[in-house]
């Protein structure tokens, strides 16, 4: 860092994103992206707003908020949008945490939470997951004076908690905001989302993204659903730091993607079918595969160290995610569910590697 860089952030360890390999014909199943293109209506929606780019975007994001509210069955006052889900997490942490209000979260979860805490000087209360990677949510009761974030389903473990278990956390922390990060919830089946809790409790916020189930990772769109008072708090931060946070093109893309429930249903179902078959095939190759509620699987085998499998797949042009962090997951692999064809190639390569 330069001699001008603030000493208060000298220890900052920036988030390490998944590898961006530029190889022709790469099978890229390392970043939990959707293998299917955006909904057919997205192209026209985007084309329709190019001339209007000379004007600032709508800082209330009214069209996008309306589409999200309709999809989620809530009111527009329950919704705020972010430039990616990461921005909503930033707004929430800035609004509901500070140096005397820690953020509580699991040791094995989305690795961006500790990065944001470091940036914002927020103390971290880290709660280890169990030996089998499940989360014992009774350990989250009575965390007075803390804000809580629970990724559900969790990443990279892919495991889901039932709404009732999360509701107990919300109920037993009435003076804390409980953030439920539902980036992968649309792959968890009906009734898995905690959005209904936002209509019942004033201290729960559900964060979702367009990056996975709505095929728009490149558009950078996320949203949060909560009691209107919490949404107003989020907007208070947003207007102090990036009033026009969503660009017009992404707003149009997101609204069109969210309106096409049929395409959403079809592509999500295709991913779930491929997940079922991939899980079975990996198990037959000797992998332990956790029961996934996401668009990826978390797998491990005694047949070869995870890092070696990762590197051998990589040399064959198949990119999956390996976590070298000194955690309990250093013999596990995170594999995004791609198309059936991509999974065929993966399984064939694994057979060769493990032969």
């Amino acid at each position: 860092m330069s001699r001008f860089f603030t000493k208060t952030l000298a220890q900052l360890e920036p988030y390490t994103p998944g590898e961006q390999l530029k190889i022709p014909d790469l099978i890229k199943i390392n970043a939990n992206e959707n293998p299917y293109p955006p909904a057919p209506g997205v192209a026209q929606a985007v084309a329709g707003c190019v001339d209007g780019l000379r004007l600032y975007s709508d800082l209330t994001e009214a069209k996008l908020v309306a589409a999200i509210a309709k999809h989620c069955g809530v009111a527009p006052e329950n919704v705020v949008c972010g430039n990616g889900s990461d921005e909503n997490l930033l707004l929430a942490l800035r609004a509901f945490c500070d140096q005397t209000h820690p953020l509580a979260f699991a040791d094995i979860t989305y690795s961006f939470y500790p990065v944001l805490c470091d940036l914002l000087h927020i103390p971290q209360h880290i709660l280890p997951v169990e030996q089998d990677f499940t989360i014992d949510l009774t350990k989250y009761y009575g965390l007075s004076g803390e804000t809580i974030v629970i990724a559900n389903p969790n990443a990279p473990t892919s495991l889901l908690q039932p709404v009732a278990a999360i509701e107990e956390v919300v109920r037993r922390n009435p003076d804390s905001v409980v953030i439920v990060d539902e980036a992968y919830i649309d792959f968890a089946g009906a009734g898995a989302t905690c959005i209904p809790l936002t209509q019942k409790y004033d201290n729960v916020m559900v964060v979702q993204t367009f990056s996975k189930s709505h095929n728009l990772a490149g558009a950078r769109l996320g949203f949060a659903v909560a009691d209107p008072a919490l949404i107003a708090d989020m907007n208070r931060i947003k207007f102090s730091y990036s009033p026009y946070n969503i660009n017009s093109l992404s707003e149009a893309a997101g609204a069109a993607a969210m309106a096409d429930e049929a395409y959403f249903g079809k592509t999500t179902a295709a991913i779930l079918a491929t997940r079922t078959s991939t899980t079975a095939r990996l198990r037959s190759l000797g992998f332990t595969v956790l029961p996934s509620a996401t668009n990826f699987v978390f797998a491990s085998t005694d047949r070869m160290p995870a890092k070696e499998i990762f590197l051998k797949l990589r040399s064959r042009g198949i990119l999956i995610r390996y976590f070298s962090a000194p955690q309990r997951i250093d013999n596990w692999l995170r594999i995004t569910i791609g198309t059936d064809g991509q999974m065929d190639a993966l399984v064939a390569a694994l057979k060769e590697i493990l032969a």
Copy 2:
């Protein structure tokens, strides 16, 4: 705010953006937007990346950075992009200011600086502009331990400082980062930009935007040019808070807009010609108009209070910017240069109002 909102930001006064009136046939000359649509190549560039939206955007923004570097005559290592210029200001303030390193800036300037300082708990060193709204940059010498931001041309005054005067500030503050906010520089004529200083000094950063001269306010794109060490500092913050800050659609739009130097030259020249004629017409109506180096004019008259003119124009469907803040500018109006037709309508309305 809700009972959960952090007490550390209870005093936050969010930035107030220009009014977003939704009136048919509105003449919107209140937000310094470009009256001309984006360059012709933007539509195709955007259409070409819709299918790829399923993938994350390029977190190095290589194509956009290359286009900017070429346009500015610098190396890619000198450039970082932001989700709007506001984000670059945020990254810079986070990187180069803290509770013991204040930000120095003028009392009459871009109103977002104090908002960001409040959000980030950065002390403000406010330097009043002169009675005639010029800035005496000798007052910026020797501000040891402070970061400095100078909007050049300044807003809303529209006044330009020569590069040599800013170079003196850079030279006389060798241990401070000097940020030159050049949002409007492309309307200031040849040789006005401080970008060449970034090749000579390690403590100057130039911030520019696609919102004005590149007709892309809705795409939310800004960039900073500086010594590679300062750019690395900016990226250090970026990767801790929003690694994928630029979406793929805006990246493509920005690269296409920046590559079309002919369209840029033509639309900029058209705005300068309209500015010249508008300035003359306003003066003939009895307005004092500062000599503008921007795509707006800053004007005042003794014939009627500014607020009354603003409201009367508004009721005629013409929206300009009036600053009600209790500053020295409460009898001044900021008027964006639109098309010749829009300016005809403005002048006709002013003639009626002042008759």
